[in-house]
């Protein structure tokens, strides 16, 4: 698994019962420092980049994702990050829920994304 900040008692992902459960990914480097400044698109690029690495380490990829949950501190950022989702998922469309939340665990973070993938 790539080196990622672990803020609490959690792993990057857990494989079980034919699935990979990927923990919520924040725009942070391995020290836990915010990446992307106040740019939600740059933050989202880092988040989905990390998701790709974690999925690959678990033996799957974006096309195997069944469900994604997107947490934004400003729901109006949805449109700004959608092109990244289109690019990384390509022809695959996961089930998805997107909601606004009042705060995330890394100060300044505007986006967190978790997912469940079906192991190929």
């Amino acid at each position: 698994m790539p080196s990622r900040p672990v803020l609490s008692h959690a792993a990057d992902a857990v494989r079980a019962a034919g699935y990979v459960f990927v923990a919520g990914i924040l725009p942070a480097d391995s020290t836990g420092a915010l990446v992307g400044g106040d740019d939600v698109v740059a933050q989202a690029e880092h988040v989905f980049g990390g998701m790709g690495e974690i999925l690959a380490a678990a033996g799957c990829s974006f096309v195997d994702v069944a469900k994604v949950t997107v947490f934004l501190t400003d729901v109006s950022d949805r449109a700004a990050i959608n092109p990244i989702r289109q690019r990384v998922f390509g022809d695959a469309r996961p089930a998805s829920t997107l909601v606004e939340v009042s705060a995330l665990a890394v100060p300044g973070a505007k986006i967190e994304v978790d997912c469940v993938a079906v192991l190929p």
Binding site: D64, V101, V118
Partner: protein, 130 residues
């Protein structure tokens, strides 16, 4: 892809971002967050959370059926409300649609949903039959 299958359900609004109504795989069905909108993505129920909840569960029922499931197959529900005090108002609708079945559930208040005016969004995980 281990039987991964996407469902786009007739009568449901075109997804507002890059996702689909539900994805099955590995024996489970993951249903995207459902809001009270019609097929043209117009809000149904105005500012009445009960009317909105009825539309949400009607839409969810349609998505579940399209995948061969029903409310009795739902194992986990996550409910997002813009006002947590609406919970008792929504509960009779849940009792009505789930009947004897009781899914695991999480309910939280969130500041905003994607659709302006939406007061409730619900996602689900269901077991595929067989």
């Amino acid at each position: 892809m281990s039987g991964r299958r996407e469902y786009r359900v007739a009568g449901q609004a075109e997804p507002i971002s890059h996702f689909t109504d539900a994805v099955a795989g590995g024996g489970l069905l993951f249903v995207s967050g459902v809001v009270a909108v019609d097929e043209n993505r117009e809000l149904v129920g105005r500012d009445d959370v009960v009317a909105q909840a009825r539309k949400v569960f009607e839409n969810m029922g349609d998505v579940l059926r399209a995948a061969g499931c029903s409310f009795a197959d739902v194992v986990k529900l996550t409910i997002f409300l813009t006002d947590v005090n609406d919970r008792p108002l929504v509960n009779p609708v849940r009792q009505e649609v789930f009947g004897e079945t009781r899914p695991a559930s999480t309910l939280v208040e969130i500041p905003a949903l994607v659709i302006p005016g939406a007061k409730i969004e619900v996602e689900a995980v269901a077991m595929m039959p067989e």
